[in-house]
Assembly symmetry: C2
Homo-oligomer: 221 residues x 2
């Protein structure tokens, strides 16, 4: 199995294609890799480009004039993002940073027209993926409008520990603050309140959830 195309998952926008079709697209488009932490797209890069994320996760965020950061989305493997007017895709003031080591397929506008828009099923998958991001973003907006910092933080911890494990690791307090639109100091204080209440255990870059049920109640008052 070619390394270029070895990343097909059930979430992939290509999952309706045959292996042959995927192979063809894989041969004719550019693949690149990005190491953890690399900022590979900035608002100044105005060129039309669509990234298909084959492996890893990518964080999309914006910066305020004062340098504050808000994460607008996290892209999982199999999905896509970029600056592509024909898909209504835009990166206005948005940065893209590799959260893990990533493998990306980079498509130009003509690539998109040739390989994506010509396959009806892929166009539908694009719409499906966008719809999911939209729902996610709408919920984030709702949370910002309705919920306190403790509620948003509890909500985030539960989401990050979604894969079975009770341990949330690899995130600094700064990371958590940027994800919920708050500040590092406030997050530290709130986490310590959670710890004091027996909801979590805190280690360096690792948080253990002790009482999911009560965390749920904090998250949804």
């Amino acid at each position: 199995m070619s390394s270029k195309i070895g990343y097909l998952s059930s979430q992939d926008i290509f999952r309706d294609l045959t292996q042959d079709e995927i192979d063809t697209i894989g041969r004719l488009t550019t693949m690149t890799t990005c190491t953890h932490g690399k900022v590979f797209y900035q608002p100044e890069d105005r060129s039309e480009v669509l990234f298909l994320l084959k492996k890893g996760r990518v964080q999309l965020y914006r910066l305020s004039p004062g340098g504050k950061k808000i994460v607008t989305g996290v892209i999982e493997a199999g999905s896509f993002f970029g600056e592509m007017a024909i898909l209504g895709q835009g990166m206005h003031r948005t940065f893209a940073e590799a959260v893990d080591d990533c493998v990306l397929c980079v498509m130009s506008r003509s690539d998109v027209e040739r390989y994506l828009l010509s396959h009806p099923k892929i166009a539908v998958r694009l719409a499906e993926a966008l719809g999911k991001r939209l729902i996610e973003t709408e919920s984030r907006l709702e949370d910002m409008a309705f919920k306190s910092v403790p509620a948003r933080l509890a909500s985030l911890l539960l989401r990050l520990a979604h894969n079975g494990s009770d341990v949330v690791e690899g995130h600094t307090h700064q990371d958590l603050a940027e994800a919920i639109g708050s500040y590092r100091e406030t997050v530290t204080q709130t986490l310590n309140e959670f710890k004091h209440d027996g909801l979590i255990e805190i280690e360096r870059k690792a948080i253990t959830l002790l009482d999911r049920e009560r965390l749920e109640r904090v998250a949804n008052p």
Copy 2:
């Protein structure tokens, strides 16, 4: 020209179809109308349904447990929304209310599969429309995270007066508050500060922009 199909605009997701194809879809799907103010979708309505908005505007919003309202999106004629898993569309906890008198095409899941997904170009237009809503929502999220109430309000006024005119009318202070995720009293006070600074003129359900330039500076500090 049949009244059923007389609403095709350059923004319509059907704009790539021939008149014949549009006629066919128009004959075979259900059209309804909603008068101004009518709430025609609520979270309890769990059925899969996609609304194509042919005329008027629709407001999508969510309510907090305490009854506070946040507008998550405003749909313009030619676009669509609803509960439709195959398009990644969801109305989780979302209400839909007709802002103006509206004409809507209501599609079931099989309608969507037959008329929308079978036309590649339409699927692309769906993705395009979703992309635009996503960008809009991301910007709203950014505003909530970064900007003060005065900045968000100034930003909203400029957006509402986008169609040439300097008069924003038909919105109560309550409406404005819900659009920016704030409170009626705060909006009234902030508007009066704007008025005091010579930025706007206030009448009942009407605001006249006097100094767009300085409003821009308030909106983007």
